[in-house]
């Protein structure tokens, strides 16, 4: 197994799917000679040519809209939105169009499209390069939403997303790109969309999380293990469909749930996770379902102080786990 970064796992998934299937192609801003602003697709243009690595005009609605059309015509486009903050102009194409094409045509048409985009904070990206967008999309039936956090999951899920016959919004936490390294199985490796990962088993508290926060939660869990608190960490990996079974199994065991995400709290993913638990496992709970999330302010600011105040840290996660364990 090779050890690679999350960034490399994105590159490798794109590269092998493009090699494997001639209907896969890439569209986006600066993905050609520049090789994407993070250099993910460096060298792709030379290898696959201009037809399959399309440097688009600066226009997100059409990056997705044109990809939708190509998907309807039998291609498997992977459209890139340079930063998740710029996805809003394409909202109509993703939510209003791509997600409804199969349903509205009663199966006559389909839209095997991947929209991938880097999201999240912690890189001094300021107010317009730090947003988490998962909660703005996960409500939409017809769409799938993935937000993996390790190199293996990223490569495995991106491969599944490209092969999926429905539109997938694929969120890559940009802080993990170079920070997180890990082993990725060789060969044709996929991870099924819709299955959570039990990143760590424990009997005292369940932490349900995803993205960068998985790593912070693992750090917190390791710290607490020294203090005799055994934390179970569930990495959702897929936001829609969401793996209710794994969540509920874990609650059945620990009887205490802490949901952690970087995105703002009110109306975030944690709301649905909590609601699933409150609806299906209420009498198994020994403590209120807690959420540790970003604050309900419009954005993460540029100054370091804003970033630090905004993002849940391993220390704050550990405090929250401890409070629940002690409850």
């Amino acid at each position: 197994m090779a050890v690679k970064t999350v960034l490399e796992s994105v590159r490798d998934a794109l590269h092998s799917e493009m090699e494997r299937d001639p209907s896969v192609f890439l569209m986006g801003e600066d993905i050609g000679p520049r090789g994407n602003v993070f250099r993910i697709t460096a060298g792709f243009l030379d290898e696959f040519g201009r037809d399959r690595v399309v440097d688009t005009p600066l226009a997100e609605a059409s990056i997705v809209g044109i990809a939708v059309g190509a998907a309807m015509a039998g291609m498997r486009p992977v459209a890139e939105i340079q930063f998740a903050d710029f996805i809003y102009p394409a909202y109509n194409q993703i939510v209003g169009e791509a997600a409804k094409i199969r349903y509205r045509s009663a199966g006559g048409n389909s839209c095997p499209l991947v929209v991938r985009t880097p999201y999240g904070g912690g890189v001094r990206g300021a107010l317009s390069h730090s947003v988490s967008v998962e909660a703005l999309f996960y409500h939409v039936p017809g769409l799938k939403v993935c937000a993996p956090s390790t190199p293996a999951d990223t490569q495995g899920l991106l491969t599944s997303a490209i092969r999926d016959d429905d539109p997938v919004l694929f969120l890559e936490h940009k802080r993990t790109y170079r920070l997180i390294k890990g082993e990725v199985p060789a060969g044709d490796y996929t991870v099924p969309i819709g299955k959570a990962d039990v990143a760590r088993t424990g009997k005292d508290v369940s932490v349900i999380t995803y993205g960068l926060m998985r790593h912070f939660a693992m750090e917190a869990a390791e710290q607490l293990a020294g203090q005799g608190i055994e934390t179970e960490v569930i990495d959702l990996r897929s936001i829609r469909p969401m793996d209710r079974e794994t969540i509920l199994n874990s609650i059945g065991k620990t009887r205490k749930a802490l949901i952690v995400h970087e995105d703002q709290k009110f109306g975030g993913i944690g709301a649905e996770v909590s609601a699933i638990i409150a609806e299906e496992a209420l009498f198994e709970l020994d403590a209120p379902v807690k959420r540790l999330c970003g604050p309900d302010v419009p954005a993460m600011g540029y100054a370091k102080e804003y970033e630090e105040a905004f993002m849940p840290s391993p220390a704050r996660i550990a405090d929250a786990i401890k409070a629940l364990a002690d409850f």
């Binding site: 190509a70 309807m72 109509n92 199969r102 349903y103 006559g108 429905d166």
Partner: protein
């Protein structure tokens, strides 16, 4: 002499398509007045441009990416009266959407008709993406993408034409300019006289044709389609036509247009005009036109009776085709 590419037979077929469409259109409004269907939309005044455009395409090869006012285009491209009536009645076996979409949201993949939504101009990038796919796969197909003049105000329209111009995809953009977007007149929609004037912003040829005349439109679209097929890039065509009736059965155009203005449009009706054109050239006679009108009525009657009898969707049908893998994935 006949227009290039059109035989006497195909000219008569075009005429029949127009008559058949008008019959379907009138039927929709009759059913609406009878309370049998809640909604109808018209294409009266647009039959010329639509039928002309359809005949300029290569059936089985080219694709249309139409909008909700394209009944004649759809019929000329192979949609049957039964299919049309099934969507009006929102029946389960409605081929376009199984009764999910408003009427006239055509979608018949095996007839090369793409699925569209009601969201104005959202389909324009789709048509470009389809054309891009054809180009990548080196297929000879061209997409015809239609829309009203109001639709050209949407940002997505701009983005679609901009990309198409840069990448010279095999697409033809056809604007059916009826001078109104529901109630909003063209002068509040754009500061230019012609939609075709917008082509210059995308490095495309912008062409104007008389949209009530199927032959004029045919010739114009044909040239653009061939150019696109040869790799010459897209064209923006503006077909000047008019909207004879209210926007839909939910609208009342007398709230924003005078009765005189509406009355005056009647002289432009594409059907009698084309009938006259055919008669002048001896391609049709009174007997034939009467016969064709009767045939259309019989077809539409049969389709109406049949479709009305078909079963509606059931509660379980609500859950189908959410994902390829099943309802909740």
């Amino acid at each position: 002499m006949l227009p290039e590419g059109l035989s006497a037979e195909s000219l008569r077929d075009m005429y029949y398509c127009m008559v058949l469409t008008r019959t379907c259109d009138d039927r929709a409004f009759a059913l609406n007045r009878q309370g049998k269907i809640p909604f109808a939309a018209t294409c009266q005044g647009h039959e010329g441009v639509q039928v002309g455009a359809a005949y300029a395409l290569k059936r089985g090869t080219d694709w249309i990416v139409p909008y909700y006012r394209d009944t004649a285009l759809a019929i000329a491209f192979g949609v049957t009266p039964r299919e049309q009536l099934m969507c009006l009645f929102a029946r389960k076996a409605d081929v376009f959407s199984s009764g999910r979409q408003f009427p006239n949201h055509y979608s018949v993949p095996h007839k090369n008709i793409a699925s569209i939504s009601s969201i104005i101009a959202a389909h324009v990038t789709h048509g470009v993406g389809m054309a891009l796919a054809f180009k990548m796969r080196k297929e000879p197909a061209v997409t015809l993408i239609t829309f009203g003049e109001g639709s050209t105000s949407e940002g997505e329209w701009h983005e679609a034409l901009n990309f198409a111009g840069i990448h010279k995809v095999p697409a033809v953009f056809l604007c059916e300019n009826n001078e109104f977007a529901i109630s909003v007149p063209q002068r509040l929609q754009m500061a230019v006289e012609n939609v075709a004037d917008r082509a210059a912003a995308y490095g495309l040829p912008g062409v104007i044709c008389e949209g009530t005349d199927p032959v004029a439109t045919y010739l114009c679209v044909r040239e653009a389609v061939e150019r696109a097929r040869q790799g010459g890039g897209p064209t923006l065509i503006e077909a000047k036509c008019y909207r004879a009736m209210s926007h839909t059965s939910d609208d009342n155009q007398l709230t924003y247009r005078t009765a005189e203005e509406i009355e005056a449009l009647k002289v432009r009706d594409p059907i009698p005009r084309f009938e006259g054109w055919l008669k002048e050239r001896g391609l049709i006679d009174d007997g034939t036109t009467e016969e064709l009108k009767k045939k259309a009525l019989a077809e539409v009657n049969e389709a109406t009776d049949w479709a009305e009898e078909q079963p509606p969707p059931t509660e379980e049908d609500l859950y189908t085709h959410v994902y390829a893998s099943g309802p909740l994935s």
